[in-house]
């Protein structure tokens, strides 16, 4: 154990950082794309259901296949890895944003509109704050998955903790596999807790005790 840290300690820190970097970049991209898209979809509910099922079907393509698919287009390295992972982050965030907004109490939205809120004001002041808990749950779920899937980035030269796992597999060294898996799991757990905390902080005061008013 000590031996392992002595030889691989530095590498472990670098790989962990890489791993985190790839995952976070993908998640952030995912949030920036999926949340606005989810809001847009909530304005076209007929189209939205079909669109979301379509994305769902795309995502059943095995991740390795997707990663391999990106190689001829984007080459190898961090960027294609981030883009592939970003693609996977979309669905949970998109679906939760759409459902979160769709399920905002229509009476509240109607009251807002009737009192003279513009469409944008309604989204920013009413719909997003009220859908926030659901959207955050989607982001959390996405993040945890992505930190796991990010190990596959190594397959297309993206780096991260997956390097350890692939080396371990190639060299028949279980300790390397563990060195890749355990930190990835810990990262996922920490990210989950942090986001849970953030979710609680961001949750509007009036929604904390109950989602409903009359």
């Amino acid at each position: 154990m000590m031996n392992f840290f002595a030889t691989h300690g530095n590498e472990l820190i670098i790989k962990t950082w890489e791993h985190l970097y790839i995952s976070m970049a993908a998640i952030l991209l995912g949030v920036f794309v999926a949340v606005p898209l989810g809001i847009l979809l909530s304005r076209a509910p007929n189209f939205a259901d079909r669109f979301i099922s379509f994305i769902g079907i795309l995502q059943t393509i095995p991740s390795l296949a997707i990663l391999a698919f990106f190689i001829p287009i984007l080459g190898v390295g961090k960027l294609p890895a981030i883009i592939a992972l970003f693609f996977y982050s979309l669905l949970p965030i998109l679906r939760n944003t759409y459902i979160g907004i769709r399920d905002v109490n229509p009476a509240v939205v109607e009251a807002g509109k009737g009192m003279g809120m513009s469409a944008l004001q309604s989204i920013i002041k009413v719909e997003l704050p009220m859908a926030l808990p659901v959207i955050m749950a989607g982001i959390r779920l996405s993040t945890v998955y992505l930190i796991g899937w990010a190990t596959l980035a190594a397959f297309i030269g993206g780096g991260g903790l997956g390097d350890f796992i692939f080396d371990g597999l190639n060299l028949y060294q279980p300790s390397l596999i563990i060195a890749g898996t355990v930190p990835a799991t810990i990262l996922a757990l920490i990210a989950d807790r942090l986001l849970a905390f953030l979710e609680n902080r961001l949750m509007p005061e009036g929604l904390k005790n109950s989602y409903e008013t009359a």
Binding site: N105, E110, A111, G112, G114, N209, A214
Partner: protein, 384 residues
């Protein structure tokens, strides 16, 4: 203040939800729209603040065509209260009350001052301003819903079944409060309801709708007195018409129209026979044109039997009568106060047309309490 000119709304291509509606609402008027579910009340209301587009016709608010105004600005200038209340759950009561102020970029001080002013109107403590909607009861929430509509002092307020979801006691309390508030603030109110009692209680004018058209638009009294057709009558309900009766019923409607009478010239002897046959102790006396001349009771016959032979010689001519067109509510007290057993009813030429006895009044009271008696028969039938 608010005018509908040939307003029609069609959803899709079907038959219109609102059909060629014409109506003018004066400033300060409290108008209730009422009608069965689906008759187009909500549609009518929502066209006013452009939550629903008009298909044909025009609506004017303060003489200005609403189509020529920016819809968002228009809505900010019209109060709006809905049945589901729709307070923003993530905002404090204060933020909720002055939401329109926020949309209009009021300063924080101005909003705060206004929030404190308003919450006093509904007798809630200022501490409530910092609470969240879910901490309030349904009735309190709707009070806030009403205040929110008043925040920037709009002259016109639209309310769609605002008290419909509240329990009857709370609803009653809010109706009272709101009616008072409306009188003080002199707002023009368009109020949708399906509760006739509510409409009768609150409205200056009731607009009864059916299948997207106005069936009758009148004061509550006029609607009770002269329902435009069977639909309105049915909608008012028999009970309510009976209840409404003391208010608008004329004496002519409830009198007994076959009083026992004798004509001038009748002998006392045959008058007595008539009394015995009719089982009455008093007779009304008319001339040959049926004009009421006086009355005769058994005592005066007894006292004068030997001195006179004709009814006109002994009758009492100082007789109190009521006109058949007078309202029962104005007459009933007079009848009772005089302690008379009966009052003759006359037409404009003082011709006798009927009689109101204490028994007639008792029947009326009985009807009001028991309905027309069918319920009682049912109870009896069930008991048997």
């Amino acid at each position: 203040m608010l005018e509908f000119h040939n307003v029609t709304k069609r959803y899709g291509n079907g038959k219109p939800a609102v059909n060629n509606l014409n109506l003018t609402i004066k400033k300060g008027e409290f108008v209730c729209f009422i009608g069965p579910s689906g008759c187009g009340k909500t549609t009518t209301m929502k066209m006013v603040n452009r939550l629903i587009d008009i298909t044909e016709g025009t609506i004017l608010v303060d003489g200005k065509n609403i189509k020529e105004q920016d819809s968002v600005k228009l809505r900010r200038s019209i109060g709006y209260v809905i049945q589901q209340i729709g307070l923003m759950p993530h905002m404090t009561i204060r933020e909720n009350i002055v939401l329109v102020g926020t949309l209009l970029n009021w300063t924080k001080e101005r909003k705060d001052k206004r929030a404190r002013e308003l919450i006093k109107l509904v007798n809630l403590p200022e501490e409530y301003l910092d609470k969240y909607p879910h901490e309030l009861s349904g009735g309190q929430q709707q009070r806030i819903g009403v205040l929110r509509a008043l925040a920037v002092n709009p002259p016109l307020i639209l309310m769609d079944e605002p008290f419909g979801a509240l329990d009857p006691i709370t609803r009653d309390a809010l109706q009272e409060e709101f009616k008072k508030l409306q009188k003080e603030l002199n707002k023009t109110i368009v109020f949708v309801t399906h509760d006739m009692d509510e409409a009768l209680k609150l409205a200056d004018r009731i607009v009864i709708m059916k299948d997207g058209e106005i069936v009758q638009a009148d004061t509550p009294e006029e609607i009770l007195r002269n329902p435009a057709n069977e639909f309105v009558e049915e909608f008012l309900g028999k009970d309510r018409l009976i209840q409404g009766r003391p208010d608008v019923t004329t004496v002519g409607q409830i009198m007994n129209s076959t009083p026992i009478t004798v004509q001038i010239g009748t002998t006392l002897k045959s008058a007595i026979t008539k009394m015995r046959d009719g089982r009455v102790d008093s007779l009304l006396i008319t001339d040959s044109d049926n004009v009421l001349k006086g009355f005769l009771d058994i005592e005066s016959i007894n006292n004068n039997y030997k001195k006179a032979s004709k009814v006109e010689n002994v009758m009492e001519t100082n007789i109190y009568s009521v006109s058949q067109d007078s309202l029962l509510r104005d007459t009933i007290h007079k009848i009772l106060r005089r302690g008379a057993q009966y009052v003759p009813v006359v037409d404009e030429n003082h011709r006798l047309v009927g009689i109101v006895t204490r028994a007639t009044l008792a029947t009326l009271v009985y009807d009001t309490i028991w309905g027309d008696g069918t319920e009682l028969e049912e109870i009896v039938a069930q008991a048997e």
